[in-house]
Amino acid sequence: MDADKTLRTQDLPRTGGFPSVRYKRNLPKKGPSGLVLFTVLGAISVYGFYRVGQGNLEKRELRREHLWSRIHLVPLLTAELDRDTYRRNCAALAREAEIMKDVPGWKVGESVYNTKRYVGPTQIVVPEQS
């Protein structure tokens, strides 16, 4: 009878059962979370684009200023050119009078064209490049 009892005893888990097997990977969390990284990177980018914007706006302003300084200079440059042209024209007439003083009947500054209409000068006097 005793032997039968032993045989009938089933091999069962211990009372309370086995503890569950820990099969999940348990890696320690290192570094900041994804949200923090995203926020920090976003903030840095936003600051960067703010500075880029400031720089680009300044560049735009400088370009505008450059253009308008040129536009405002145009009357002055034109007046300078007129004055210079007149001076050179007078000098040319004086030179002509000096060279042709021995030729009788020579009219200094007379048009070489056989017409009464106005003919513009064929030579353009440009200030010397410095």
């Binding site: 980018s45 960067g48 684009f49 880029v52 914007g53 720089g55 680009n56 706006l57």
Partner: protein
């Protein structure tokens, strides 16, 4: 824009020296990262190692494989090295100092980097060896694929200053280096740069365990040295380009008055930092598989970059801060 012989020599000779010492720096840095000494026998601290390596390659016999296409076999290293050196023409080392201040300098650089594929292709095909051939096919596929994200990244950077001239891009970074607004894009840039220069972890073309040495398996002595010089030369070039595009080139932060010498030094320091980064990456990461490499390019980088190419100009237009 005088491109005289002497100007070129002044650029090329120090460049070759820096390439030689970059190889030493790489071995030393990787040695210390792996708790080794690195080269330390030739000269003190191994400082003469690059010279002895160069001398060895110079005096060794160049083996020509039978059945190889002799002309192309010897032409390929020349093409590669020449294209790698030509890339230095539009690089400004200080204010108004490039050999040729091209208004389309970046376009020129992209064209050259596309042409670089031909050297690789010819070298692998002409050697009549299956290792070299497979290596060159892999290398070509990689270079052609990563050309796209490379171009897209350059496009993103170019949109902000609105210019393809390297000098203009540097001057536009006076308010802020583009690393700051484009910080997430910088990470992509580093990945693409590593792939474009065929460096670990993307050095599939010369994966030693599978393909011996990639497309230049059969090249020995001087032709091999040319490939080597070209590879490290393009590494330095792309580091300089990265510091120009993202780290403000020769600019110091803030309104510090500089001299040309100081400006060149600043550019050099920034580029050295990037070279160190490339070596660091090589020492840290295991090589990826070829399909992973292609997947990263076509399914990862390119879709993200298409999005970013739309996003960045949208920001500029939305806040009315176009240049």
């Amino acid at each position: 824009m005088t491109l005289s012989f002497l100007d070129s020599l002044i650029l090329v000779i120090p460049l070759l020296g820096s390439i030689a010492y970059l190889t030493l720096a790489e071995r030393k840095v990787m040695g210390s990262m792996q708790r080794r000494l690195g080269p330390n026998q030739v000269g003190s601290y191994g400082l003469l190692q690059p010279l002895s390596d160069g001398l060895k390659l110079l005096v060794k016999e160049s083996v020509l494989p039978s059945q190889a296409n002799k002309g192309l076999f010897y032409l390929a290293p020349f093409i590669t090295l020449t294209l790698s050196l030509l890339g230095w023409i539009p690089i400004p080392f200080a204010k108004a100092s490039p050999l040729a201040d091209m208004s389309l300098g970046l376009l020129y650089l992209m064209a050259l980097s596309s042409l670089g594929v031909y050297g690789v292709l010819l070298a692998g095909w002409s050697a009549n060896s299956k290792y070299a051939f497979i290596g060159s096919l892999r290398s070509t596929a990689q270079l052609v694929s990563y050309e796209l994200p490379f171009a897209l990244l350059i496009l993103i950077v170019v949109i902000i200053p609105g210019s393809l001239s390297l000098s203009h891009i540097i001057e536009a970074q006076e308010p802020v280096w583009y690393l700051v607004p484009l910080l997430p894009i910088w990470v992509l840039w580093v990945m693409v740069v590593v792939a474009e220069t065929n460096r670990a972890p993307f050095d599939l073309p010369e994966s030693e365990s599978e393909l011996v040495a990639g497309f230049f398996t059969e090249h020995s002595a001087l032709p091999f040295a040319y490939f080597f010089l070209a590879e490290y030369g393009s590494m330095i070039l792309i580091s300089v380009l990265s510091s120009i595009l993202f780290l403000g080139g020769y600019l110091l932060p803030g309104d510090i008055s500089t001299s040309p010498v100081l400006e060149s030094l600043v550019l050099g320091v920034k580029s050295c930092f990037l070279l160190f980064l490339l070596i660091w990456i090589r020492a840290s990461f295991p090589r990826v598989r070829f399909d992973q490499l292609m997947y990263l390019c076509w399914a990862g980088l390119i879709p993200i970059l298409f999005g970013l190419v739309i996003l960045v100009p949208s920001i500029l237009v939305a806040f009315d801060i176009l240049p």
